[in-house]
């Protein structure tokens, strides 16, 4: 987040996403791990690179990278981390150390088709609406006569 070149920022972000996907795989959530790689590494990072390219904000520029109120932003973020870490460490977490078998993709598919069928449909509708909306918003507007 401190890098000046935007392309470097997106590449570092992609590396972070890959690391998170590896964590998901380690936690036994294979499907989510591969979805993470497909969606984030494959789609969101490419989308960000395209946006950087189209707004011509790549490359070193002379303007300062941080906004005028960056000190308060950093302070807020640090305070958030401190509070979260304090809450996590001071809470008494008892984990049931269950060595469960890895969640199979078949079980996920069954759940998606039975218990979560309606959310899945709503999700498809939302994605369609979001994509159409994004295209309409980003389309060059025709000049009114």
């Amino acid at each position: 987040m401190g890098l000046r070149n935007l392309i470097h920022c997106v590449l570092a972000l992609t590396l972070g996403f890959v690391g998170l996907a590896m964590l998901y795989l380690e936690l036994g959530a294979q499907f989510v791990g591969f979805t993470q790689i497909l969606v984030y590494v494959g789609a969101v990072a490419i989308l960000s690179v395209f946006a950087i390219m189209m707004t011509r904000s790549a490359g070193p520029n002379a303007e300062p990278a941080l906004s005028a109120s960056w000190i308060s932003g950093l302070v807020v973020a640090g305070a958030t981390f401190a509070v979260l870490a304090w809450a996590i460490i001071s809470s008494n977490i008892t984990t049931a150390a269950s060595d469960q078998p890895e969640v199979s993709v078949k079980a996920i598919g069954n759940a998606l088709m039975h218990n979560y069928a309606v959310p899945l449909e709503i999700m498809g509708l939302l994605l369609t609406a979001a994509l159409i909306g994004a295209v309409i918003v980003a389309m060059p507007q025709e000049k009114a006569q």
Binding site: M1, L13, Q36, Y40, S48, L66, G73, I108, A130, A134
Partner: protein
């Protein structure tokens, strides 16, 4: 320290990094990227709790994460579209200079 605590601490750290980026960068694209990082931290929490929770076979955390990834993709698409539209108006993506709501 149990492994769940480690995952929660890592998730809190990712969230804070995303928050710092979203609050302190000038470029609108990087602010969007910071928001994506915060969503990812929440996803990691879901997966960790699902794995170490009392009932890991219920798949609730994994389902929530799948839907959350979908929402995040939609959010990224719409956000970048809005950034492109704003760029076409003002010819830059500097958030400090976007201070008028009237094009």
């Amino acid at each position: 320290m149990s492994p769940l605590t480690g995952y929660l601490l890592l998730s809190a750290m990712i969230f804070s990094i995303g928050l710092a980026g979203a609050l302190s960068r000038r470029n609108a694209i990087l602010v969007l990227i910071g928001i994506e990082l915060m969503l990812n931290a929440a996803n990691l929490n879901f997966i960790a709790f699902c794995r170490y929770g009392p009932n890991p076979a219920a798949l609730t955390g994994i389902m929530f994460t799948i839907f959350s990834i979908g929402i995040a993709a939609a959010e990224a698409a719409v956000g970048l579209g809005i950034i492109l539209a704003v760029y076409r108006h003002t010819k830059n993506t500097d958030l400090d200079q976007m201070n008028s709501m009237k094009g």
